[in-house]
Structures are given as C-alpha cells and as structure tokens.
Symmetry: C2
C-alpha cells in the first residue's frame, strides 16, 4: 500500500452507511490519521460515548458537521434552530478535546435555504448574519470556530443561501477569525471565476477554517445532492485550487467529503482505500513541503 | 383574455416541439408581439423561407439562439465552430431585417464547457475571449450584437464556462457595447449575491442586450437542463430583478425561455397563454411606465 497522506481526513459523510464505530475503525485501519464527524451518528451513541470512542481510535478530529439552517424568521422554529446550534458547538468542543493531538474545534455551518413559500433571498441572507451574531459569543466561549460553508449555487433555494466564498467572507468579516471562518470545499466553488482571488483573501483574513475536497462530474446525479466523486474522477483542477489554499497559508488537515449512492454502497474499507488513492494522486502533489501538519 | 404585455416575447425553445410555422402562429394568435428564434428550426425550412415566414407573422424578432460553443483549442473543430458562428451572425441580421419594426439583431452566445478530458477552466475561458475577438468584426459589419449569456454554475463543466454576469461583463469590457453585450437570464443569475450591482453595472456600460425570464424550483429535474418553469411558479423574486433591469435602462422586449418536458408536451397555444399569464403576474408589475417599447 502506498503511504497515506498524513493530512488526509475522512469526512464521515463519505461513509454514510457506517455507524460511528465502523467509520472510526475503517478510517484508522486504512492508515488515515484524521476524521470529520457528523452529528447524527455521534448522537446515536451519545456524545460522551462518542468522545470516548474517538479518543480510543487515536484519530485527529477535524470538523463537526453540521450546524446552520437558520434562515427562518423569528419564532419557535428559529429559537429551536439556534438552540440546536448551541448544542452543536458544545459537541464540537467535546469531540475536539477527545481527538488526538492536532485536532481542531470547527463546526461547519450550512446556512439553510429559502423558508417555505418565500422568495426573499436577501432577507434570508440577513438572518444568517443575525444567527452568527447570536452564536458567536457561545462559539468563542467554547473555543469553537464556526466555518460558514458556501454551497454550490444549485442549492441556493433549498439548502444554502450562501453561494460563494466571497459572500461567506463578507459575512465573516465583522467577527474574530478564530470565531467565524469559512469552509473551502472544491465541489462548491471550483466554477467561480473569482475563486483564486477569494481563496487568497480568505488566507489574508485568516479565515480558512477547513479545506474539503471532492470532484465534480456530469451528468449530475438525478438527486444533485449526491453528485460528488473521488478526487481525480471528475473535472476539478485540484492542483490550482490546492496550491491557492497552500499559498493562502492553510496547513491543516484536508477532508474528503463525498455524497454518492454508489460510494455509499461500497464497503467502508474500500472507500477509505479509494479515497486515499485519489487524494494521493490529485491533491497531495500540490501540498509540497507542508505535508506533515500534525 | 387579459391583455398580453406588449414587451413579452416567446423564445422558441419554450415551444420546443413546434416547428417554425406553428411557433409563429401560436405566438401571434396568443396576442404576443415578439418572438426569439432558434437556429435548428430556422434552418429546417431554410433562412430565406424562415425570414419570409417571420415577416408574414407580423412579429418582432428579439434574439437568435444561439452561437458560441467555442472553448475547444485551435484546430479544425475550432475553425468549424467559428465558421458556424459567422453563419449564425448572418442569420441574425437577416431575421432582424425581416421582423416587424422594433426587431433587434441579437445573437445569444453560450460559451461552451470544458473540452473533453480537460480540467483547464481558465484556458477554456481565455478561448472564449479569443473567439469574441475573432467574431466581433463580423458582428459589427452585420450590425449584430453578440450577447454573452452567463449560465448557472451547474452547467460550468459541460455547457458554459461563463457563470456570472460579472464575468460576462468583464469579457465584454474591451468591445463596443453595440457589438458585445450580455444576456440577463433570471434562471441563471438569480442566486448571485452580486446580481443587483452587476445588473446596474451592465446598464451603465450599455451592455444589456436582452432580458430573459423563467423560474427556478426544486427539486431540480433529473436532467438539470430541463428545470425551468413559468414565471411565478418558483422562487425567483422577479420584482427585484426586473426593477433592477428597468432601472439599468433596459427598455426592450423580454423573452420567456423555458426548457421543461412537461411544458414541451403541452399544446403550443396553451403554453403561450400560460406564459403570458405568468409574465403578466410576475414580471409586468415591475415594468411600470416603460411597458410599451415597440
């Protein structure tokens, strides 16, 4: 087996059908050093058990997925969403403390789409900002970085009204970079004519909380949410994007997060192996001398 | 029947299954004053016959769809694409001359995607610029405006490497606005956080060659190309976008261009009626006193 890049982290969504124990085992067995977790499988076993399992795995913890979904107007639904984000912040801090040295306390935030029946995109975006203001003190107190993730514009109506890296950086601008940063995910931003300059800006502002990679290929899956592929299997130029992220000063772990029915139907060990292989071929060559960040 | 907005133009793609004769008849019978044509049905009857049919219909001609698809590297394929665009320019001039008073000679350009096997998005974009330079003299000589259409980023790999209005305006910037402008299509740009400022910029630069409207709704169709809807049936805020286009000084006809299997399976007269109804409810209220542009 070729050596696995020490900066590779498996995002648990890539192993969607595996429970937490299985995901931790397959990741560690595959020679990968780090993992990003999802709230549902963590809460399935309970937070303190999950933290113990993570600690036992010896893996670094890279991100917690995910908070957000706070575009709805004020009312009980919004209060519930804010409270749920507060719990996600606590989970993130607990898991980061349980992970191996080099773990990071990062909560990925997906903004949420237009509220049912609404066409007010500008209003929805302003409520994202309001939510950040409300949650920033909690995140700061817990030592957690909220990482706003711009999602591909094809999700703008039903999943994330934050669609570009530039927009995410504008939202983050008024907060301390240790409290509000951004998620740079190749799948969502590769098409953006401004992507290289916005990655550079994110670096200058100290806002790159996490870098996630997976590939884009057409035709898109019938459910466009599930159109992600192993790095190298599609058309994304990982060399230019990864070089830009490296030059912007990001030296942390790099997650592979893939939503894809075929990959989910594959055995976790094989998925980890293919992920490491694709990462090694498509991403590692651009990481240069900064390969070992642990 | 409610009066049809005099600025409404039916883009022929909305009546995909109709031939030219049928499309012209259904549009005129529906009380619509203008039509945008597609090359394939025009060339099916031959250009001179198509021009006579258009003249006989009494309709204004608003755009010709479409040129472009010139992202491939130099070689016979690229030469063929450039030559084909030259023919499209000639067709546009001929049809505009045959349409009723107020017709406009506008050729919509879809840039094309990444060449087969390529990941070089930046290179593909630079070849779009090269093609514009090559075609601009022909367009100027023919009195035709090339209208670069930014397409939704979900088409960036396989259809159009021009994804935002700002990018289209950057591409157009070095050319005379009467020769190179942009297509503002709500479906493609509604999600863009910069859309209102870029529409204003397009107006200042005199670059809005045509304004096209249709709606966005999720879940997207399995073939994402066919996910367009009648204005008002989705989540796009036509009031803010249309007001921005009006304030930017655009006073021309407005096309409805819908790719949708269900709509294509509907009788053309009913499609024209529904289009006029949707347009009247969603778009007309924002057109204010400039309603009659003919």
């Amino acid at each position: 087996m070729t050596a696995v890049d020490p900066r590779l982290s498996i995002n648990q969504a890539t192993l969607k059908r595996a429970n937490l124990a299985e995901a931790l085992r397959a990741t560690a067995d595959g020679g990968v050093q780090a993992i990003g977790l999802w709230r549902e499988p963590v809460n399935e076993v309970g937070l303190s058990t999950a933290a113990k399992m993570l600690e036992g795995s010896g893996l670094r913890f890279t991100t917690h997925c995910r908070g957000g979904f706070f575009t709805i107007p004020e009312g009980p639904g919004r209060r519930a969403a804010i409270d749920d984000n507060r719990r996600a912040i606590e989970e993130t801090a607990t898991l980061a403390a349980a992970g191996a040295d080099g773990s990071t306390a990062i909560l990925v935030l997906v903004a949420g789409g237009l509220p049912e029946g609404s066409r007010d995109l500008i209003g929805a975006r302003s409520r994202v900002r309001d939510a950040l203001e409300e949650l920033a003190p909690d995140a700061a107190a817990a030592g957690v970085t909220l990482a706003i993730e711009p999602l591909h514009p094809m999700y703008a109506s039903d999943r994330a009204v934050v669609s570009t890296l530039g927009q995410a950086l504008d939202l983050a601008a008024d907060f301390d970079p240790s409290v509000v940063g951004v998620t740079v995910d190749t799948f969502h931003i590769w098409w953006d004519p401004q992507v290289l300059e916005q990655i550079a800006r994110a670096g200058r502002d100290g806002r790159i909380a996490t870098y996630q990679v997976c590939d884009w290929k057409t035709p898109l899956a019938a459910d466009v949410l599930l159109s992600r592929h192993y790095p190298g299997d599609g058309v994304i130029d990982f060399a230019s994007l990864t070089s830009a992220v490296v030059e912007a000063g990001y030296a942390g772990d790099i997650e592979v997060e893939i939503f894809n029915e075929d990959i989910w139907a594959t055995a976790p060990d094989e998925v980890v192996r293919r992920t490491a292989e694709g990462f090694g071929a498509a991403v590692s060559p651009s990481l240069g001398a900064t390969v070992d960040s642990a």
